[in-house]
Each structure stands twice: as C-alpha cells, then as structure tokens.
C-alpha cells in the first residue's frame, strides 16, 4: 500500500479549476518531485494534502486514513512534516528553541504537557532537539536568535523545525530557492541524507531542475491543474509534453 494516495482531487476556487482530478501516490521511502511551471497548482496540491485547504472533491489517503477535513496540526501529528518556501520560523526565539518547541509537540502529542513543570526536565525532548540540530549542522548557532541567521541558515532551520516533528513523509517546498550554488549543494546532500539515512519519504517541490533530476526517484509534472506526466527522471527529461509546458506551449 502506498504511504500517500491522492485520489481524484479537484479544487475549485469560484469557477477557477486549480486542480483537475489529480491522482498520485507516493511509496514508502521514495523521493518524488512535483514540478510544473508557475501557477500549475503545486502549492494548491500541497495545501490540500497538509490540511490548509479542503478539496472540492476527492480524497487524500495517508497510511490508510482519509485526512481530508482534518486540521493541519492533526495531519502533522500523523507524521506529515512540512518545510515552507518562505522561511516560516519563530524569529525571536533562539535556534534551539525553534527546534525545541516542535520536539515538545512531537514527543508529547498535544495532551501530556504540564504547565507547572520546568521544560529542561524533559530529557527525551532535549535529546531529539540536539539530534536534529546536529543533523542539520546548527549546533554552533543554537543559542542565537533565529532572526539573526543568514539566509541559507534560516532555510536550514526551516527544515530542522520540520524534521523535529519526526515526519514519516516530509514536504519540502522549494528548499533551495534563493540559495547560492554552494548552499544548494549542501541542501541536495541534506535531502539525500534524509532519504537514505533517516528513511524519510519526501515530496519535493522544486524549480531547480539540476536538483530535481539529481535526487528524485520519480517526478510528477503538473500543468494547469492536470498531471501531464509521471515517471523516472529519464522518462520526464525526454517527455515532449513536459518540454512544451515549460517552453511556453500552454501557459505562456
């Protein structure tokens, strides 16, 4: 059974068809990239899966459970992590606190935290935080306020916060946007580590085709709300429909 199964998802915004009967699935351990020109519906699809939007029609089955209609926090607790395109972090908190708050919610769900107990008494939470900080090479900056980090490090923190939720499936929305070539290489390595060493299934939305073709097991191409091609990087690279979508065949 697939880890994630998106079935016949249609999303309409007042007559505008953003997603038209979209079907896709992700197997455990896979890295699937979602590509497509601007306005193709990538963000809408991610927002539907993570619970920010309820689809007009269709269902999203995660690990055998339909998650349509659930709140984002419930979906996150099921094991769907997310890192955002714009760095959605907690700017005034330190780097460590940023990760820590996610660790708390992960280790304790929403219900077993005590508002009268000191938070440094939660050993397993601290361990999880330190582990994530180490994986993402943020230990040296751990006590700095998050807002003082340079851009590339902020994006890494963004991923760290998502990782601290202990995702089985992680959505990464343009993790290399605005990065220098060196930072992009680092991020590519990180994505490979996450998949191969940490066993995380990844859905990647990315515009940098070098990154996409480097890391993906499979690629799904969206265009004007429709899936126009699915396949391995080699298949997609040669696909005439994908070429025309990117080179101005449809949307311009």
């Amino acid at each position: 059974m697939s880890l994630l199964d998106v079935q016949n998802v249609t999303m309409e915004f007042g007559g505008l068809l953003a997603l038209d009967n979209v079907d896709m699935s992700i197997e455990r351990g896979e890295l699937v990239s979602l590509i497509g020109p601007n306005g193709a519906g990538k963000s809408t699809l991610i927002n539907v899966i993570t619970g920010m939007l309820d689809p007009t029609e269709g269902s999203v089955i995660y690990d055998g459970e339909n998650v349509v209609g659930k709140q984002p926090y419930e979906i996150t607790q099921l094991g769907l992590g997310r890192s955002f395109q714009t760095a959605e972090i907690f700017p005034e908190l330190t780097v460590r606190e940023n990760v820590n708050v996610a660790s708390f919610l992960t280790e304790h769900g929403s219900f077993s935290l005590n508002f009268f107990r000191r938070r440094d008494g939660y050993g397993e939470v601290r361990e999880r935080t330190e582990e994530v900080l180490e994986t993402l090479d943020l230990v040296d900056d751990a006590d700095l306020p998050a807002k003082s980090l340079p851009y590339g490090d902020t994006r890494r923190l963004e991923v760290a916060v998502g990782m601290a939720t202990d995702p089985e499936l992680m959505f990464m929305d343009e993790p290399t946007a605005g990065m220098s070539p060196a930072e992009t290489d680092m991020t590519t390595d990180l994505i490979k580590t996450m998949q191969n060493e940490l066993g995380i299934t990844i859905l990647l939305v990315e515009h940098d085709m070098d990154v996409v073709f480097d890391v993906s097991d499979r690629i799904v191409t969206l265009h004007q709300g429709n899936i126009i091609a699915k396949g391995t990087p080699e298949e997609i690279q040669g696909d005439p429909k994908v070429r025309s979508a990117y080179l101005g065949g449809g949307g311009g």
Partner: protein, 361 residues
Amino acid sequence: MSTDLDFGDEPLLSWDRWDRMKNSELFIFFAAGAFAVLFPWLFIRAPITGDIFTGYGSLAKTILIWSIFAVGFNLLLGETGLLSFGHAAFYGVAGYGAGWVAIYSYGHPLLMIVVGVIMGAVFSMLVAPILLRLHTVYFAIVSLAIAQTLFWLAREPFNQWTGGENGLTRMEVKPLFGDVTPADQLPDVLGTLMGSWMYLLIAVFFVITIVAVHRVKKSPYGLIFKAIRENETRSAFIGMDVWRYKFASFVMSATIAGLAGALLTVDKAFVGIRRLWWSASGDVVVMTVIGGLRTLFGPVAGAIVYQWFGGVVDGYPQIGQYWLLILAAVFTGIVWWYPDGIWGLFSQIGDFLRSLGGDNE
C-alpha cells in the same frame, strides 16, 4: 580537599553564578517576597525617600493589586502576543463575585477570593470560543465590546444585583481568623513594614502569582506561548493545537486578573461599577507596556509608576492637574527609547555597570 572543590575554579560570587541563580524559582520567590515586604515601608515611610516620593498606605495595596493584574495580563500580551482590551471584564466579574459571596453567603476573605477567582475564570472560558477565533485588532475590539457590554448590563438591567452606578455595598468582610480582621494592624515590626493584615494577604497572593507565572514561563507552555506569538501558522504545522494553548493562556491570564479583582473587593468591602469600564482595561495595558513586555517584573514596575502618577503626582500643587499629560510624555519616551519598558532600561543599566566592572573575561 578544600571547599572550593565544589565550585571548581569558579569563585563564590561570579556573574555566571548570578545568571543561573536569578532564574531559579527560589530566587524569584525570595525576590518577590522581599519586594512585597519592604515596598510599603520604602514607599510610604522610609526617611531617606523624603517628601517627594511619599505615597500613602492604601496606595501600596492598590499598587500590589494592580501588579498582580498586570503580571497576569502580560502572560497573554507579552508571552502569547494577544492584546486584550477587555480584561476589565474578568477583573470586574471576579470583583462582583467576591462581593456576592459576602452579601448572600459568608464574607470570609479567602472564600470571597476563591469564589471570585472561579467566577472570573469561568467567564473567560465562556467568552474564549468567541474571542480566540479572532486575531490582532479584531481580538482587541471584540474583547473591549464584551467588557463594555458587561458594564452596561451591570449599570442598568442588573442593577438590583450590582447596585448600578452606586456600586455594590452592604457587604461585611469577616475576620481572617479569630477576631483579626483584614483591616487590623500587623504586630510589631511587621506592622511597621507592611501595615495591615490586608496588605499581607495581598502580598501573599502577589508572591504566589509571581512564582506561578515564572513557572509557567519556564514550562513547555511558556515556549509554546512564545511560538504562537511568533508564528501561529507555523505552530499548527509542527503539530500544535493552537486553539488549545491560546485557550490555556487566555484563561490563566483571566484567572489572575480575577484574583486582583477579588482582592480589591476584600480590601474595599465595595465594588464600584467603574471596574468594568474600559479605562480599567486600558490602565493595565499601559502599565504592562511601560513596565516591559515579556519580562516577569516589568509590569510591577509599570504598576508602581502608573499608580504613583495617578495617586501622588496628582496631589502636587501646580503640576498635579497635568499628571495624565506628564504620564503620557513619560510613556511615549519610555516606549520610544526602550521598547522593553522600564525593566528593559534597568537591564541595560545593569549590563553597562557589568561591563564597567570588568566582566569581559
């Protein structure tokens, strides 16, 4: 071999030690206790402060009550980032609750406080489902509207229970124990320092409030509140049921506001309708912001400054009538130069002195 072994190379007095100590619960407890014990004497009677700082006895109680109110309010505004402009509602409801106990049941001070606090807390739970759906300025305006609605209800339709414009009178506050009433003087040196039993009662609840709020801030909730303040969307996507924690913060804050309201009723044996008026909500905002958002003791400093202006400067010849104008100027100045308020100013001075003292190893 030597006792130094316990501390390693660290001397007994060092900044590191201080930094660790100042955040310990025991230290907070003693600091709050020492402040509460010494404050009235320093404020009212100490020979060194001279005439210009001299307040009067009842003002010390008022300041401590407003300090409790503002410390609780800051848990919502400073930590969680929600600006309520209607906290007078919880302050007022608890105040009336305490009064009703004394009139219709039995006016033991502790019973009045317990019932008042519960009423304030329950009322906050009732309005939370409406208020917590709203954000920023909408949250502020609707909270204001709820408090104002209570004011108008208390003034006319329900005046047979609230006493309307005349306030709630005819209550008798019974002795705390034996034949000691809250208004009695404390014995010996305690009396010189703190005055009445009523002050001591307020001081005890003040210390409890400070320690409790400090504890919440150091708990997982403290971190979660800050996360909500910083980025509510992201909070949901790390698996946080944001509503639940906002609710917790809101009810905690309202409960503490209720404690302040109930204490005031015990102190005055009277509940005036102006406690529900919007200016009470505004006062607590000003005190908190002057004192220092996100700090534990800042709101206390804010309450002192605000009440001192209103209660003492107000009585000065010539400038007295301009106290509100002077306060406004002070407020603007502080917020302009020190966004962290008076407490932020104190910490800056502290850091400066520390750098002079050669803490640069």
